[in-house]
Amino acid sequence: MAKLARLEIAPAKLEQYRGELANVLGHVAKLKSINVDGIEPLTSPVDSTNRLAADQPGATLSLEELFMNAPAVEGRFIAVPKVLAEENS
């Protein structure tokens, strides 16, 4: 699960999490006691319809503002480690 969540967790810590999460999931299992036959899922508490914005260009953030929080910038790009190396590993 940690791998799927992209979290690099040390094995010892993983054991602790496993116990805590099992505990929570044990409690959450109470959901099974509720009869939900024929009930539709509710994803949002209020009825809302999709609202579209007018297709008009507005002010945008400058490149400088967009990059001010980037950990590594090279020119007009955000720098990342080699991606292609992934496919060989």
Partner: protein, 492 residues
Amino acid sequence: MSAPFTDAVSIGEAVRSGATTAEQVTKEFLSRAQIANASLNAFHEIFESEAMEAARAVDAKVKAGKNPGPLAGVPMAVKDNLATKVGRTTCSSKMLEHYRSPFTATCVERLQAAGAVVIGKTNMDEFAMGSSTEHCAWGPVKNPWDTTRVPGGSSGGSAAAAAAGLCGFSLGSDTGGSIRQPASLCGCVGFKPTYGRVSRYGLVAFGSSLDQVGPLTRSVRDAALTYQVMAGLDDRDSTTADLAVEDPMKDLETPIAGLRVGVPKQYLSDANDAEVNAYVNEALQRLQKLGATLVEVDLPLTDIGISTYYVIAPAEASGNLARFDGIRYGHRAALKTGESLDTLYSRSRAEGFGPEVQRRIMLGTYVLSSGYYDAYYGRALRVRRLIKAEFDNAFTKCDVIAGPASPSPAFKFGGMNDPLQMYLCDVYTVNTNIAGLPAISLPIGFAKDGPHSLPIGIHLQAPAFADAKLLRAARMVEKLFPDLVRQAPHFS
């Protein structure tokens, strides 16, 4: 004027009338905040020069005869998961330790336009996940009534700042009780408006279908006024409701004739602290004497709320927090030569997120994973519809539903080491978010613990978009306790 003891409405009035200046008020509050912060840790950052500059701009408007707004010169503290151009927006997480927002949240902008002055950003449980503000990367926030106890959470810094009079009011966010529970534990008013009433633009998302921004204040009228300023449609948040906002100030002082107060038997459980039940009962008796009718309502799904919430909220969080990958912003881990992009993601996230956030991301990932999706997430969404229906049915018999905001007064630091035990504290508040209702917590009494008085709050819930009526009902309750101390004594 003794600024720290007055509420935001009275500060605004005094500044507009010229009885005092925004500069004077801001200076006083900045000084109080700086001194008290050494013992409370309510603020992560305090903005002295920016606040004074904003205050002078308010004074210039007053001098020029222009309308400075209803919150003229009122010092406001902002929870650190709301984006502000001034200072940093860290969500009390190492992940965002150095993050500076290029924009300001809509709710903050609207309050600033109404004259409020941002004096600082408040500490919180990391990414708003917690009920004690112990999960804060910048150290725990202390309860101003007893600094050996938690202020509640996740808006613990905002609650402590409002209760200790370090600001005129503060802003919090509420995903499962994160405004109302700390307000109850710190003895201030905490208001969570109807889902979709206040724009979430600029609020760092936790559970998008549950999150709502709201004020923490020292009076109900402050909650009403600040809500009025913030509420309404925002083009930048498509979930804001396209419905006119009822004026919450107009009839605030007029009691609701024939108010029907729903009392679910599930809320005054024996598992609650005895003093909590005693004070809630006292408030109900007083309301009845005033002419309100107490109506017994049945909410049998109360207990299942925690299970439902701790599936839906982590599920939404695991998606929302996937954006923190060490690439565009936030913490980036150092890699050794040859390590992959995937390692960069995993290590950055492991180093940047604290344990509670990691737990909830894994929980959310699990309940959304194929094979478990239907059993957990799908089922929780179906139970969610049942919970909402249960409230809808109860509100055919009553105008508001009353109960405790928290099963107990503030607990000691480290008093809830097991995550599940902490989650169970939210039993009376999570269903409000699951159903998208407005709710408010306000102080009604104190539990005694040796030399300490620990605030106890009542929790009122109302139907969706009945925010104005809910505030009126809360004002009725507030008037029933005229002599209640509303300021933590050590900070007066």
